[in-house]
Amino acid sequence: MPARRKTLSQTHMQMDVDVDNSVDISRAKKAILNRLNGHAPLPALVGLDGPLDSVYSLLNRTVSSAEGNTALLIGPRGSGKSTIVQRSLDMLKQKHDTDTDIDVDSSSVSKYHIVRLSGFVHTNDKIALRDIARQLLIKQDLENILIGSFADAFTYILNLMRSSDDEKSMPPVLFILEEFDLLAQHPKQSLLYTLFDIAQSQQTPIAVLGITARIDVMDLLEKRVKSRFSHRQIHVSNAKALEDFVDIARVALSIDDNEHRVTNAFAESFNRNVSAILTTDFVASFISDIFDFGKDARLLLRTFVYAANKLSNEHPYLQLAHVKTAIARETASAKMQILESISLLEVCLIISMKSLVQSGSSKYNFEMIYNEYKTFMSRHMLATAGGGAMKVYKKPVALKAFETLVELEIVRPALSSALGSDGSAGTSGRNDLLAGSTQGSRAPKEYRMVQMMLEPGQVLDLVAKRFDIPAVIRRWAQQ
């Protein structure tokens, strides 16, 4: 906390010994952690007022004037789409709650319903439909109607809603569709078709808001679905300027004396301390690095979790040292950390693979790697007559070391064809090199083709970082 004035530091001193300060601290800690871990939205949205307005007014029009609305909210991961939606819903709730206060006699339980679907969990239309019914609080057994077409079942559900109210009109329903692109991959897109169709027909007031990170999401829609969509797209972008990006952190880390019921003085000095940390050269340069590489707000917030967790009576304010620890952890390469302490034999195998790669083979098996290792070692033995302290390990021992590398996924089975089937083997993570071969035609594991998941440059880095590697092997790696 370098930028602090004298008078203030005195108040600090006083507050540090203050007894009921601990309540303030724990409140501040909880509030900040809630925001950083995504339990609570940030108190203010930085640079997202435009999209927020459009989303709110869209939802509001459905609720208040029974319009059928459809829109897509598109923006990269971590740019604040869900926060915008959550905030508009909160605002809507506030407005709605004050409305009901005025006319208490309209005795309906709630004026509108919210249905949230996510492409991650609602993997087919049947599951989605059952969950829609659950979220609309329909207790009736649905098994018999689920047999029919999706559209029939859906209108049946909506009709249940209608009849449950005394009035002719039914309450507005807001559909929030997260991971819209995954929902669009359901066969025949009947869920989306039905929703859009009802929204367009204007008989039932529903709003459909799709949230997605895919900018080409329109191409996923079938023609009949597309024609029923209003083509309203709301785009959200990441922070445009570095200052806005830093502001996100500032907003997330600062506390408000009224909202969190802490003393004014504590809140003030806490916030001043946050600003001081954010303007430190070290932290500022890290933030600008994130901004330059990916503008990932989630990574930015994650950096401060450790320091926020450490808030306690001893550390009433965020500590720069804790932030630095967290930054060091974020910037460390996980792969290198693991590689830094594997055994010498495993390093030798990695270098063998590197020399195989450099001599032009893209795929190789254990036999080739071991042959490379043995060739080098015998050459070395001849040169030094006896080999010094080095020992040539036998094939089974080397194979065991090799299997450790496979387990760490530094070595992966080579894809059968160069392109593979759209990289699907890469994501599924299937690691059948160690598993017993199910097909009889597979070769023994020494002969299965593998690839090393390291660049030659990384191997050199590794060799440079380790001090226990004999000079001979060092030279071999640099060849």
């Binding site: 800690k29 909880k30 952690l33 809630n34 871990n37 995504g38 339990h39 991961r77 971590g78 949230r116 996510s118 991650f120 969990v121 993997t123 599951i127 969950d131 991971e179 995954l182 990170a213 994650r302 979790v305 967790n309 450490k310 952890r329 460390a332 996980a334 792969k335 950390q337 693991i338 302490s341 055994s343 010498l344 034999l345 195989l356 001599s359 083979s361 098996n365 036999e367 042959n371 020992k391 390990y393 036998k394 089974p396 021992v397 065991k400 070391a401 450790t404 387990e407 996924e409 994501t427 599924s428 993570g429 299937r430 690691n431 009889g440 035609s441 070769a443 023994p444 020494e446 002969y447």
Partner: protein, 459 residues
Amino acid sequence: MSLLELTAQLSEKFPGRDYQIDQLLTMLGEPDEPTPPAIFVYGPSATGKTSVIRTLFENYDPIGTNYAYINSVECFTSRLLFERALNAWTGHIPSVENKFSNYARCDNLVDFVNVIRGVLDGRKETHYLVIDQAERLRDRGSMLLTSLMRMQELTGGCNVTVVLITNVVWDKFRPRHGGAADPQCVFFSFYTKQQMLDILVKDCPVGEPESFFLTFVEAIYEVFHRNCADLNELRHLVAMLYPKFVQPVFENQATRSEFSRLFKLCQPYFAAASERLYLREISTSEWQKYSTVASAKNNPEDVTLKIYQMAENSDGLDLPYYTKFLLIAAYLASYNPSRLDVQYFARGKDPSKSRKKRAVTNSENCLGGRDRQQLLGPKAFAIERMLAIFYSIIAEPVDSSVDVQIQIASLITLRLLTKTSAGDRLDGIKCKCNVSLETIRSISRTVRLEIDRFLYDFA
């Protein structure tokens, strides 16, 4: 128990894990403090990931209804995973009374999310879902991992944290669609030499002087750490070798102070251990049996001999006479190029003479290359070719009553040969030989066949 006490207690129990324990406990905080949606614990095997996490949670939540520990090898479908987690959170134990039913039936993620909402309604503490060997989750559909990591969001703000334990880095987990935000990572590093020794010394047998044991452990570490960084392996070796090392003391051959002499007496065991014991070629009980026999007589030559016998590969491949030849023929057919068969196996010619002539002129430059068959592995061959080689390498005329075809079938059943052609094809069957060169060498020794005479381009 306060967090500070817990930290101190765990740090004492797990030497060298202070940093990780502090990081984890800081992240968990008090039971009702907000936690990140996912914690990713990674590091090489035998670095204490599972045991630290399990002990931590056992002490952190003694009642055990706030965390669920799940091994994803055991729970090999998502349904098992979901139901186990709910059982643990609700304290439900399948038993006779409830007819071994689970707390709730969860066929898919939506069910799980909804049941969680019901279960956790009104509970303030964070609930943890600890998944060990999480790398297997990647095979269970692309959405499972992402959804678990977003459980907090999907359940509408229930306080759920997923802890993933694995030995693979996060980069290999990150879903392609980018749906899961990067979790908080905790890295369990390898132990340093000092930490390793601190832990190994804890295994010191009762009644043995600790400083003496430490010297031994250090020697073991120096011998083995170059090919093995795994703590569990070293512990196993220490447990196996220490009785041998200390034996001369009890047999009054040396005193505890004569360290180098003891070391020398134990040297043959080290050599044997580095291969057979380390590779688990002989079991613990076998090792103990043999090594007792070896040292009952105090004659050093006898010890060395016994150790040699232990180290000797006693191959269990006891095949009939003709079948051995069949297997050798299969090996030759798998590794030799067919174009050279005439030179090697044609009758009436001296094989060594003709081979020299052709091989040198024809393929001098490719000998010992990187793509020789020995390195590429066995290639498929037609059964007819193998039979031709078989009749050629067998010296005497084969008795016609020997049913060669049945022997081939039994070799395939034994997986010494693998069939590569389709199962229903009767003609033109193709096979591969599945046996290593060492095995073939020992087999041909038993039938007195000079295998090296027939091998092309081997080193």
